[in-house]
């Protein structure tokens, strides 16, 4: 059955197995690289399209530094006019990081929000992805309503038994508004 082991053939054999496996992997990697990028790109575009009003052309990706932290964002425009910004923000939830994409329109109103990644408790905090909770942020005007849960004196209806998640969500949206202000301030400076 198996070959007698000697130092020479053991090394040779392991070496051969490694070389063949690596070559195979490199080949598959080369083939799947493009579909992977396409899939990731489609996902980002999808998320952006959910949170900002209708736009044309490709969203422009950029990052901005606010209070020492870098935030990636996408700027979209319609017919040459800026239509809004989709900002990626995160906050610390109950089970770990809660990352959102928040869309703010050109007139400083939140258009919509979507959860990019979360590790909240299923059935409790994880309900933050459901429309019952998330839809209250649609067309939210931060100048009129306070982005804090009612318990903390704000206007956000918290998820039952998941105040920490609701707080994190509100905080993330609030951060997005701050980032939006910074983006607008920088654009005005440039002009």
């Amino acid at each position: 059955m198996a070959v007698q082991s000697s130092f020479k053939n053991m090394t040779l054999c392991l070496f051969a197995v490694c070389i063949v496996s690596s070559a195979l992997l490199a080949a598959v990697y080369a083939v799947t690289k493009e579909p992977i990028e396409v899939a990731e790109h489609a996902k980002t575009i999808n998320a952006i399209a959910q949170v900002v009003p209708e736009f044309d052309g490709e969203p422009v990706s950029d990052t901005i530094e606010v209070a020492g932290k870098k935030y990636p964002y996408y700027a979209v425009s319609k017919a040459g006019q800026p239509a809004g910004y989709a900002v990626t923000v995160s906050a610390s939830g109950y089970g770990g990081a809660l990352t959102l994409m928040v869309g703010v329109t050109a007139d400083r109103v939140i258009y919509n929000t979507t959860v990019l990644s979360q590790s909240e408790t299923p059935g409790l905090g994880a309900k933050c992805t459901e429309p019952e909770f998330a839809d209250q942020f649609r067309n939210w005007n931060p100048a009129e309503k306070v982005l804090k849960v009612r318990k903390d004196g704000g206007d956000v209806d918290a998820i039952t038994a998941s105040t920490i998640t609701s707080r994190a969500y509100s905080l993330a949206v609030e951060t997005a508004v701050t980032v939006y202000d910074a983006i607008v301030a920088e654009n005005n400076k440039g002009e």
Binding site: A26, Y29, S92, G96, A97, I164
Partner: protein, 199 residues
């Protein structure tokens, strides 16, 4: 401060066995007796910490500069397998008594998914400890790995203690062996759920 949060989170809140489900094979397999559970925990502790240190360095000083991150899984498992072999050889020479205690567990550790799991976790996941999510640096990774293995040890030893007690009791025939162990693990996991939200 952050180190303390990492330690509490890795031991209690995100316990590798009871909430992440990694390393269940030794958890069910060698938890019949308290003494073997202690031995296994010691060996795992040693290997996880060492493996995470080496794979972390390998990821950022070899794979990333060469642009071959896709070789990650193969490279990591080979490093772990080689490391376990080396630890076995060194231990045999340096401390025969420690080798006697841990030796038989070492070959099993290569296929313990907690080791590869932790090594992969620190280079792919972002962690947030009360602040912004970020990738762990070298120091944090090693502390994280060590604390995770302590969590493994804690769950393992508690579980072995419980199983020793259960062995003395009358258990319905169909439940004998693994099923009753799983029910015990379930109750233990419930107890550990009480820690969630702590960090």
């Amino acid at each position: 401060m952050e180190y303390i949060l990492i330690i509490i989170s890795a031991i209690f809140v995100n316990n590798i066995l009871l909430s992440q489900f990694m390393g269940i094979c030794p958890f069910l397999g060698v938890s019949n007796k308290l003494s073997t559970a202690v031995g296994m925990s010691g060996a795992v502790c040693f290997v996880i910490t060492l493996a995470t240190l080496v794979t972390y360095l390998f990821q950022y000083y070899v794979l990333v500069p060469l642009g071959i991150e896709f070789m990650q899984t193969i490279a990591f498992i080979l490093i772990i397998a080689a490391l376990v072999q080396m630890v076995e050889i060194v231990l045999k020479k340096v401390s025969p008594s420690l080798y006697q205690a841990l030796g038989i567990f070492l070959p099993l550790i290569t296929t313990n998914c907690a080791v590869l799991g932790v090594a992969l976790m620190v280079v792919t996941n972002e962690f947030s400890y009360g602040g912004e999510p970020h990738m762990l640096d070298l120091g944090e990774s090693v502390v994280f790995a060590f604390a995770t293995s302590l969590g493994f040890g804690l769950a393992m030893i508690l579980f072995a203690g419980l199983r020793e007690q259960i062995a003395l009791n009358k258990v319905p025939k169909a439940f004998r062996g693994i099923p009753i162990a799983l029910v015990t693990a379930s109750i233990l996991a419930m107890a550990f759920m009480g820690f969630s939200g702590l960090v």
